[in-house]
């Protein structure tokens, strides 16, 4: 398993969010989550323009055997989605913390990020 990026924040549902840039974070599922799922064959992306509250299901990541909902740990509007995953869903397996990102969210409540786990806490959480 790859190392857990130290500058990201993590949810108990195994999503990560990047540090905010101009109020926008990138969201994905963690390497631990992809390794539990196995080969990802389909990613159900949210629609750009939709707004969500923290805890909402925004899409799904599916392996051959199971569908797993993706929850946003932060509230806001989806401003971009990773269309590449439509053709190459396996990117989530290969690079969960990078090219396998799912969407970008413009934060409506930036303080929510502070309530998430840091890399050390998440690493412990996965043990």
């Amino acid at each position: 398993m790859s190392t857990i990026p130290s500058d990201f924040k993590y949810s108990a549902e195994h999503e990560w969010v990047s540090p905010a840039a101009d109020g926008v974070v990138t969201l994905g599922i963690t390497d631990f989550a992809q390794s539990e799922l196995g080969d990802v064959v389909y990613v159900d992306l949210p629609e750009v323009g939709n707004t969500y509250a923290a805890g909402d299901a925004i899409g799904a990541v599916e392996s051959v055997k199971a569908a797993s909902d993706v929850y946003t740990p932060v509230s806001g509007e989806v401003v971009e989605v990773n269309e590449e995953l439509g053709n190459e869903p396996g990117t989530v397996n290969k690079d969960a913390f990078g090219a396998g990102w799912i969407c970008k969210i413009k934060l409506s409540a930036p303080d929510e990020v502070d309530g998430l786990m840091d890399a050390t806490a998440y690493g412990e959480f996965c043990k």
Binding site: D39, A60, S63, V64, K65, A67
Partner: protein
């Protein structure tokens, strides 16, 4: 690992897609020790079992097996199985893991004086070796022994060890199913791997069988559906008498109420799964998916569902509802994978 009929079974070893590909292109080995084995023998066994199973045992010669069904009084499927004729009134039967106790009880409840039925399920480890390179694997682990022909069974010995090999499988590939004494199972599993077979789990077993439209009892077969509805009339001989035959004869005459159809996505969509609703394109509900998977070989969603027979024609445009979204699909001819 998952719980399966009282066993801890691996869903995957390396990865479902990788294991699926190995079976289609080279060779894989599945641990099928969970499956049940019965030995039925003694005077009157053929007549007894011919009254219990849908296929006709009179068609078998020594060393050959056939796919068959055991039904309840209403013509619904209790289990699907393979029965091999070892000799006169002497049969080896392989049944589903989850049904061993129920099958045994049902057979015993209908057994006349004379025949003997032994449940040998705990005594055997089973290994399904499947894929185009299976013959070289067998040659390496059992040198000098010739594999039986398709659907055949062979009892033989290696270094004094009693073994059984059947030329059957659940993947659509060239393959064999190998049975040895339970305590020797790990050794033979490792020998198969050394000879070139890749370990494969339940996940690949399911995606491989569904590409071939092989039914899974509990998903595609049920006590509420007849083999005619499941599209398995080819293994039902309605000219002989067996438990459940009356319903089948009535359905043959009057038409079956539902049909298990093969459904293929015509556009990209989230993988079809058990329980998803299938509808006509105008939203008319037809039923629920029994089985579904994103076919690793074909790269599209494939599924099976019971639909009202009048809507079951090949070419019927349908849709599968996934999390509120309708994915366009069409009823196609079985199997999905044309070999």
């Amino acid at each position: 690992m998952v719980a399966f009929a009282g066993w801890d079974m691996p869903v995957q070893y390396k990865g479902i897609l990788d294991e699926h590909r190995a079976v289609r292109e080279a060779c894989g080995v599945f641990d099928i020790s969970h499956m049940g084995q019965f030995h039925a023998h003694g005077e009157g066994t053929t007549a007894w079992l011919n009254g219990m199973f849908t296929n006709n045992l009179e068609k078998l010669i020594d060393g050959v097996g056939q796919y068959s069904m055991m039904l309840n009084e209403r013509g619904g499927v209790i289990d699907d199985l393979i029965i091999y004729r070892l000799g006169e009134d002497d049969y080896f039967i392989v049944v589903n893991a989850s049904m061993i106790d129920e099958d045994y009880a049902w057979l015993m409840a209908h057994k006349p004086e004379g025949p003997q039925l032994e449940n040998l399920s705990a005594e055997y480890v089973g290994l399904a070796v499947q894929g185009p390179k299976c013959e070289s694997v067998f040659e390496a682990v059992c040198p000098g022994v010739e594999l039986p022909a398709h659907n055949g069974i062979l009892r033989f010995k290696v270094d004094g060890e009693k073994l059984i090999v059947c030329r059957t499988g659940y993947t659509g590939e060239n393959g064999f199913e190998f049975f040895c004494a339970a305590q020797q199972g790990v050794k033979w599993f490792e020998r198969m791997i050394t000879a070139g077979a890749q370990p494969c789990g339940l996940g690949a077993r399911d995606s491989l069988r569904l590409e071939m439209c092989y039914s899974l009892n509990g998903s595609d077969l049920s006590p509420e559906k007849t083999p005619l509805e499941a599209g398995l009339s080819w293994c039902c001989d309605l000219t002989k008498d067996f438990v459940g035959v009356q319903t089948l004869r009535e359905q043959k005459a009057a038409g079956r109420p539902t049909a298990l159809v093969a459904i293929e996505y015509t556009e990209k969509g989230a993988p079809p799964r058990h329980g998803y609703e299938v509808q006509l394109r105008d939203g008319t509900p037809l039923g629920e998916l029994c089985s579904g998977v994103l076919s690793p070989t074909l790269g599209k969603g494939i599924a099976m569902a019971y639909v009202p027979a009048q809507h079951g024609k090949v070419g019927t445009e349908v849709q599968v509802v996934v999390r509120g979204k309708a994915v366009p699909a069409v009823i196609v001819k079985k199997p999905f994978l044309k070999k």
